[in-house]
């Protein structure tokens, strides 16, 4: 089990991570999610031993490894750019860690076969790595990291270099492989989908600090900070008064978080708000419908996204049809996934 306690990484005067706490249980896949510049890569490098920590401790099963050089940590890392050894073939890359550990060559070959099978590259042993496709290179990098059976696997933006169409597929594949290896895994990414698809738990990092951690669902519902909420897709923001522990939104009441008083910050994602042309309303607008004017609108194929000016403020909502600019629309809300924070 990896435990990171109060780890800070400094570059000169710049604080990259600030007293970060984090844990990865055996067999767990944990994601650190944050925008670029949030300190997630510095954190990963500190865990790997590639970056000295200014304060804090990194332990594995209660043993302090903070000062252990990278080659004695027994942690594997897969870089975003793969960093394959291009002067070696696939086999040479995959067996590198085994050679460093002095594993006998027969055992090396057996393990290489096993791991190449796992990543679906059986028979690729003697291919040059620079002749492989991006996806194949990634699998070689994964096999190379996993071959010596590291205690911890670290992934740096594992799907960033992959085409959008192939992402879901590769994410699922990656998850299956990592699960099959049973290795504790720490991944850092700025991509929500990547984190949510791959990880059991998600930690949100912002300006070097942990603002929230939990399961994907928990983090999605309560991102921990306004910045994190925006990062997690909130596009409509309302600041409303709190009365008797609840907030009355135009669409109905929601419970206010403890300590949110006198005002609360309400965040909604485009999918939480739906609009339709006001003319199509069968009944006159009731109390849970907000009327507004379309300012701009984007066609998105199966739906449209519109920026709507309403009395309560600007809203970003989805609708089935694309309305003309200036049209009057009625906006309804699904408050199931609303984000509420102290203002």
């Amino acid at each position: 089990m990896l435990r990171v306690t109060g780890v800070s990484v400094h570059y000169g005067d710049v604080v990259a991570t600030d007293h970060v706490d984090l844990a990865v249980a055996d067999g767990e896949i944990a994601a650190v999610l944050g925008p670029s510049g949030s300190g997630k890569t510095s954190l990963l490098r500190a865990v790997a031993g590639l970056e000295p920590v200014a304060s804090g401790a990194i332990t594995w099963d209660e043993t302090d490894v903070t000062g252990t050089p990278p080659h004695r940590r027994d942690f594997g890392l897969m870089f975003q750019d793969h960093a394959l050894f291009d002067h070696r073939d696939v086999l040479g890359n995959v067996t590198f860690g085994l050679r460093m550990r002095g594993v006998r060559s027969e055992a090396q070959a057996a393990r290489a076969r096993e791991i190449l099978d796992l990543v679906g590259l059986a028979g690729f042993e003697h291919r040059r790595v620079d002749e492989l496709s991006g996806g194949e290179q990634q699998r070689v990098a994964l096999a190379r990291a996993l071959a010596p059976r590291p205690r911890l696997l670290m992934l740096d933006e594992p799907l960033a270099a992959v085409d959008r169409e192939r992402r879901d597929e590769l994410a699922a594949e990656l998850r299956t492989i990592i699960r099959a290896s049973g290795t504790a895994t720490l991944l850092v990414t700025h991509d929500l989908d990547e984190a949510f698809t791959l990880a059991d738990s998600v930690t949100i990092l912002d300006h070097g600090r942990v603002v929230r951690s939990g399961t994907a669902r928990e983090v999605w519902r309560a991102p921990g900070s306004i910045r994190a909420a925006r990062f997690l897709g909130v596009t409509t923001e309302l600041t409303l008064p709190v009365t008797d522990g609840r907030v009355d939104t135009p669409w109905g009441p929601v419970a206010a978080p403890a300590g949110a008083s006198p005002m609360a910050w309400i965040g909604l994602r485009p999918g939480d708000l739906h609009y339709q042309p006001a003319s199509e309303l069968e009944n006159p607008p009731d109390a849970t419908t907000v009327i507004g004017t379309v300012r701009t609108t984007w066609f998105r194929g199966d739906h449209s996204v519109s920026h709507i000016d309403a009395a309560i403020g600007p809203l970003v909502a989805v609708g089935r049809e694309q309305p003309p600019i200036g049209a009057t629309v009625a906006v309804t809300a699904d408050l199931e996934a609303v984000v509420i924070l102290g203002a």
């Binding site: 400094h10 000169g12 590639l50 970056e51 000295p52 050089p69 080659h71 750019d81 002067h87 010596p148």
Partner: protein, 536 residues
């Protein structure tokens, strides 16, 4: 933790050994020259320099030094830019051969080139000096400007054309400004080489033409006037320092250009043939003609020139063949020394180090080492030779009579080239590869062996080849410290040329031909190895 400490100790050694070498064999001799030129009887005394500056003969020499270097640079640029324009823009059969032909002279010994131009019978004239300088330095311009030109983003030219600029306008408004830093850098290097040119002037200048370099030699070897020699050396050092600062500025700006991806020449079609003819003709006339003349002249009296090389001439202590053998022996030792020290320095300079405070700028020591390592590049060989002469003549290090002093001097002259050739290669190593190797369990030493060494190996071979060729041709420093039994081939050629009689000229031509062939082969092997890496 213990291996970490060992790693630090090891990387310390990488610094200490080469730095000690530079301190003893570079800083000390140059310091001694400065001391002699600037101090007398323990106090600052600019009398010697003042005398030199006031001497009309020396003023004339200094003026000629600057003047000929300027003219040589202009002549080189005129020829080389025409060739580069063709080679960078047109792809044609034999393009590689023309590039090889034009760049090969750079490694040829100065004495060989001077001898070749003497074979043309144009010696004793300014034209001969300018042509010989162009012969050498066209390579510098073709390499430096050619790399920048080929690396230019062709889309900027396309953009200019779509914005309404004609071909001529596009060239003057887009291409030329982009190349200006590279041209300035190349011009400064050429100027520096011509300014410190020694062998060419000594052999081709005859009694009429002298530069600061040849004057230092004359004052030392013929007039035994070390005071004037030291004063001239100080003047020379100051002048070189000024040129280096200017060159450094120009090169610093050109670095951005050369970083862009190489795209290779892309034009073909009607004008290609004209361009190909022009470039080939230039290469043939400038490079082929003098070399052919040298070979032809070496057979002027049948094979007599060659067969006589086996004999020890009257008044000399060894034969021409013996000198060639000595040169090869010295070159092997010098190349080994230069490559070993250069590689250690390059590794120490480029070694990734993370400081406790996370600051990633290289330490002052690293930056100073890099500057110190390339400094001998600017200091002329004559200065090195003169410095060796005055420092190692007496204890504590009376190396004057030692065989080792010559390979050491040659290694010193080649060291900056080795460092310059290997540092960019080692810098280009993806740091992620080192980190991955470490995380996979490789110790720091193993990381170096598995990642860096493989990449450095080829650069080291190329650098060793260059150091070998440079030692084979080294003349300026050697002439000061050579002893009869350590006569090298270039010195032997010079001695043959200084003696009267056709027999001696035949032998000079024959030995120069052999030396040219030997360095040519070494350069060709080196070229092959680099070509495979860059695959243009």
């Amino acid at each position: 933790m213990s291996s970490r400490r060992f790693g630090r100790f090891g990387s310390g050694l990488l610094f200490v050994v080469p730095l000690a070498f530079l301190a003893v064999f570079f800083v000390w001799p140059v310091g001694a020259i400065l001391a002699r030129g600037l101090f007398a009887h323990g106090s600052l005394d600019l009398g010697a320099i003042g005398d030199a500056v006031r001497d009309p003969a020396i003023r004339h020499v200094a003026w000629f030094t600057v003047w000929q270097a300027t003219l040589s640079t202009l002549a080189t640029l005129a020829i080389a830019l025409a060739a580069t324009a063709v080679l960078s823009r047109y792809q044609f059969v034999g393009r590689g051969l023309v590039i090889a032909g034009l760049t090969m002279p750079f490694v040829l010994p100065t004495v060989v080139v001077a001898t070749a131009f003497r074979g043309l019978g144009v010696d004793g004239s300014l034209t001969a000096i300018l042509l010989a300088h162009a012969f050498f330095n066209v390579a510098v311009v073709v390499r430096v400007v050619g790399a920048a030109w080929v690396g230019l983003d062709p889309r900027t030219v396309d953009a200019a054309r779509t914005l309404g600029a004609g071909p001529g306008r596009t060239f003057t408004a887009v291409t030329l400004p982009a190349l200006r830093p590279a041209i300035a850098a190349a011009a400064s290097i050429v100027f520096l080489f011509c300014f410190t040119s020694f062998g060419v002037i000594l052999i081709l200048g005859g009694p009429r033409f002298a530069t600061l370099e040849t004057e230092i030699y004359r004052a030392t070897a013929q007039l035994l006037d070390l005071r004037t020699a030291a004063a001239l050396s100080v003047i020379q050092l100051v002048a070189v320092a000024i040129v280096l600062v200017v060159a450094g500025r120009a090169a610093g700006r050109s670095r951005r250009v050369s970083r862009t991806a190489r795209t290779g020449p892309r034009m073909t079609g009607a004008r290609t043939r004209a361009g190909a003819v022009l470039a080939s003709a230039l290469a043939a006339v400038l490079v082929g003609w003098p070399l052919l003349a040298l070979v032809r002249r070496s057979f002027a009296h049948g094979a007599a020139g060659y067969s006589n090389l086996a004999r020890t001439p009257l008044g000399a202590s060894s034969s021409g063949f013996h000198a060639l053998g000595t040169s090869v022996e010295i070159a092997i030792v010098a190349a080994t020394l230069a490559t070993g020290l250069g590689l250690a320095l390059a590794t120490a300079i480029t070694r990734p180090r993370v400081r406790r405070d996370g600051n990633r700028r290289p330490r002052l020591a690293v930056r100073m080492t890099e500057s110190l390592a390339v400094l001998p590049l600017g200091v002329s060989a004559v200065t090195v030779g003169f410095g060796f002469l005055i420092v190692f003549d007496t204890p504590p290090l009376a190396l004057r009579t030692s065989w080792w002093i010559i390979p050491i001097a040659h290694a010193l002259v080649a060291l900056p080239f080795v460092v310059r050739a290997t540092v960019p290669t080692l810098r280009a190593v993806d740091p992620h590869q080192r980190e991955v190797a470490a995380l996979l369990g490789a110790t720091p030493a193993r990381v170096w062996r598995e990642v860096d060494a493989r990449i450095a190996a080829r650069a080291a071979v190329v650098a060793a080849g260059f150091a070998f060729a440079s030692s084979l041709g080294e003349f300026g420093a050697t002439l000061f410290i050579v002893r009869p039994e350590t006569t090298t081939a270039p010195v032997a050629i010079f001695r043959f040329l200084s003696r009267p009689g056709a027999t001696n000229v035949d032998q000079a031509m024959a030995l120069a031909t052999l030396l040219a062939a030997l360095t040519g082969i070494v350069a060709l092997v080196g070229e092959r190895l680099t070509a495979r890496r860059t695959t243009v």
